[in-house]
């Protein structure tokens, strides 16, 4: 017997469900795998759903299982790619860079250019200076960047390589011209997470241009204008969001500089040409950004050090927590209006009204529903705030890279709404903790990244994919989640899953399909 057929080719989805494969699997399991008895597997499976298991699970002090965070240099690469003609250069082991490039490409379905200084054992012993000297020279010659932004892997950090000194030496040895921009940031993987790395790299770049390029140029003097700077932070929706923010700023007629704009480099056309560099903040704009009246960050926990640096230069800094929804967008727009002295145009007010209209139309389907959310600290805050606004309850909100300050801020948010009474924030916890929470305190929907599908499979909680990375759905990063239009997208995403779930749980013919309604 054979199932494969040239006219109807079966791949892994169906092939292995054939009788001959099933028999093969059964024999392998029975004879060679030394499997635990089915009853034992079932017993442990059930035990892992209990409050008793949860207690042991939450008593963990060392083991991390399925975390929702990555390491610093990933964030540094993200930040660096937002600048014109910039090639991120990660000093340390080369495998890391292969990982960052793959990770971003799997999410954005786009190329991600980044180089490594390829340090190996000898560099571990003698330091990576030669790797920096040769690496910068090669990168400069081959890829002709306008800027090389350096960050570090944990290897270089453990052996204590000094980027400032190394880059200086490399310039003295002629790897790149003396005046060529090589900002840098130490980004140890054993401190913080990818959002910390974003912050460090962004701060490194701003500091480089404003504070005298590591002692090689005069520090910039500030002459205040009524422009603003905008920083998006590490954001899986950066492509859609940046375009939406530009549209909003243009509607408001404000002068602005986006510091770190990845929306072009991660969304280049397929027209026969590969653009290694595209878009990004112009280097001259980074310099003139010092003159802005203020800087707005969409992600507080992603830009703490950067904003401190900017504030120290005399600018007002305002930060949000990945603002999603009516009130969050109101506050964002009012801050822009206040700082720049420009009014919020009628067009945006109309968009606001449309969003409110949409919420009014559909909120009855969301009202009172329980949600679990996990992701980066700012995103989880932004989504929780939106759910509260919709009358839903974000019961479990978890950020592996959230700290105590984040948890406190979440508590304040919960306390501000009658829908937040039963809600709790979990800083520093991972998706195996979330698994316990979903068993012992079930919710209607889970919001998270692609890895949430394992929780959906294990606990039966329907997953709404919002976050980073999203590997198994395409193109969502092209749609904004910021602005009133962005909130509309989030609303539709949530509603779609709710309606899908209603249909999926009512379509049993002759049993439950009285509720399988045609109009909802």
């Amino acid at each position: 017997m054979m199932t494969q057929d040239a006219d109807k080719v079966l791949d892994h989805f169906e092939l292995f469900r054939g009788a001959e494969y099933k028999e093969m699997f059964a024999n392998k399991q029975k004879n060679f795998e030394n499997r635990h008895a089915d009853g034992e597997v079932e017993r442990v499976r059930e035990w892992a759903k209990t409050p008793e298991y949860q207690e042991k699970n939450f008593a963990r002090e060392a083991l991390v299982v399925n975390p929702a965070k990555a390491c610093q240099p990933l964030g540094a690469v993200f930040a660096s790619l937002g600048f014109e003609g910039t090639l991120p250069f990660v000093h340390g082991s080369q495998g890391c860079v292969a990982y960052y490039r793959s990770h971003f490409s799997r999410h954005f379905k786009e190329p991600t250019s980044c180089v490594s200084s390829s340090m190996t054992e000898d560099a571990a012993v003698f330091g990576g200076l030669n790797n920096m000297v040769d690496g910068l020279a090669n990168t400069y010659a081959m890829y002709k960047p306008k800027m090389i932004a350096v960050s570090t892997t944990c290897m270089a950090e453990v052996i204590g390589d000094d980027l400032n000194a190394f880059i200086k030496t490399a310039k003295e040895k002629g790897s790149v011209p003396a005046e060529f921009d090589v900002p840098f940031a130490h980004t140890p993987a054993f401190v913080g997470s990818h959002v910390t790395g974003y912050d460090n790299a962004m701060k490194g770049i701003v500091e480089h241009f404003w504070d005298g390029k590591a002692g090689t140029a005069p520090k910039l003097e500030r002459t205040e204008t009524n422009a603003i700077n905008f920083i998006g932070g590490f954001d899986g929706y950066t492509v859609g969001n940046m375009r939406e923010i530009r549209r909003i700023f243009d509607l408001m007629n404000v002068q602005y500089t986006i510091l770190g704009d990845n929306s072009e480099v991660w969304d280049t056309p397929a027209d026969g040409e590969f653009r290694m560099y595209d878009g990004g903040t112009k280097l001259a704009e980074v310099e003139s950004a010092i003159n802005a009246r203020g800087t707005i960050s969409m992600q507080q926990f992603c830009t703490e050090k950067t904003l401190e640096l900017i504030a120290n230069h005399g600018q007002e800094v305002v930060s949000f927590n990945h603002p999603v929804g009516v009130k969050a967008t109101d506050e964002f727009l009012m801050a822009v209006a206040r700082i720049t002295g420009h009014e919020i145009p009628a067009e945006l007010e109309k968009e606001r009204g449309r969003l409110v209209d949409a919420i009014a139309d559909s909120n009855s389907h969301i009202h009172g529903k329980k949600f679990a959310i996990y992701g980066d600290p700012d995103l989880t805050y932004g989504l929780a705030a939106f759910l509260l606004e919709l009358g839903a309850e974000p019961v479990h909100v978890l950020a592996t890279n959230g700290n105590k300050a984040w948890a406190a801020k979440m508590r304040t948010l919960f306390d501000s709404s009658p829908f937040g009474v039963n809600c709790k924030a979990y800083p520093g916890k991972d998706l195996w903790h979330m698994r316990s929470l979903l068993f012992t305190g079930p919710v209607d929907f889970l919001i998270g990244n692609t890895y949430g599908k394992y929780l959906e499979r294990d606990t039966g909680t329907p997953l709404i994919r919002i976050g980073f990375p999203i590997f198994d759905r395409h193109h969502h990063h092209r749609r904004p989640v910021w602005g009133y239009q962005g909130a509309m997208n989030v609303l539709i995403t949530i509603l779609d899953r709710i309606f899908d779930q209603m249909d999926a749980t009512t379509n049993n013919t002759g049993q439950t399909d009285y509720s399988y309604d045609i109009i909802r």
């Binding site: 180089v115 040769d134 081959m142």
Partner: protein, 499 residues
Amino acid sequence: MSIVEPLSVEDIKARNKELIEEVLRIYPEKTAKRRAKHINVHQSGKSDCGVKSNIKSIPGVMTIRGCAYAGSKGVVWGPIKDMIHISHGPVGCGQYSWASRRNYYIGVTGIDTFGTMQFTSDFQENDIVFGGDKKLSKVIDEIQTLFPLNRGISVQSECPIGLIGDDIEAVSKNKSKEYDGKTIVPVRCEGFRGVSQSLGHHIANDAVRDWIFDKSDGKPLAFEPSPYDVAIIGDYNIGGDAWSSRILLEEMGLRVIAQWSGDGTLAELEATPRAKLNVLHCYRSMNYISRHMEEKYGTPWVEYNFFGPTKIVESLRKIASFFDDRIKDGAERVIAKYQPLVDSVIAKYKPRLEGKTVMLYVGGLRPRHVIGAYEDLGMEVVGTGYEFAHNDDYQRTAQNYVKDATLIYDDVTGYEFEKFVERMKPDLVGSGIKEKYIFQKMGVPFRQMHSWDYSGPYHGYDGFAIFARDMDMAINSPVWKLTKAPWTPKPQPLPLAAE
């Protein structure tokens, strides 16, 4: 070449040599000298491809290579499904390699199998300063509490472990004692070791030898040995590859007692030295343990290739030659059984793919192993290269696979690969996720040849049908006719040799 005049072999050689010279011109002198040793034009009759390999990558050039951790955790150990593999160190390595390799398995994940999970000790600054051994002990304790059905644990070292002087071997031994001789395997696969994934494979192989074989020697087998017991070595079951291979071996009368390591278990690893023959697919990543088993246990090993019917037939017969007539007849029976499928696949797809050219850049065995499958479909591989090959891989490539004048590029850089493809204009590029979108934007059809672009299996007869379908859908997708807006001038085909 679809848009240029056919060239003679000598013309192609001249063009390829010119292309190599041109590409090298971009580099600083020192780098050009080093890179020149890694790129060549294959001359038929030579015993290797005329390139140096397994040498450090050059800083700053955008190598596509990974690291030793990727070779050990990502490739060799990760797929062993009933063990828990700790990514020991900071969070990133385990995060980026989490479930991305598509090593299919069957089991209840999180309860008795753990393949698509990310276990890490998530190092913080304190662990770097004071050492991570205590944390590792605690990690193992917590695994024992929360995942009681795990059959074993491996410790996959990330860069800091070797730099801060942790003694993971001591921790592993102590914990093994504490847990009644439990299998706990320390693996020194720090990412800075060696020049690529390759050393990680070797280190991982050695860890199996030292921490599994040496401990389980003399352990009674759970099954009665038979004269037809074989183990599949070096198949990671990507998209189910090992399954569509195993079925053929079993159909010819052999009994597969172990899979290394796709859908594999600790029990299978332990039983492998009792196999009568080890059949080795990915030579690069598992030749070490195969040689060890030959030396210590006298188990012979044979390389095989289950990509495309020509190589499958050759391989089935080669494997059968180690056994009696029952198996030899079995191989012929299998070949005959699948011949109609092969015929119908080729009848359907060859006319759509005949004469199409392919450039490859992959790891392990694929830069050579898949060539036969393309040729079965009438396609031609005009350039190929390896991420982490050694010279013995290039010897195998030269002697058994590539044609005269094929462009060979070892540890290719982003710049080189792009230029080669731009000038040689193949009809298809087969490489990885980092390369995929670059070439698609250039208008060149592409298939990921690490992950099978989320398809598969590609091994065996069942896999060949999928391979053919996928190559056809890549090359003949209507999207490639849309890349140029109709109002832009058409590109003029140029005779490349004259450039």
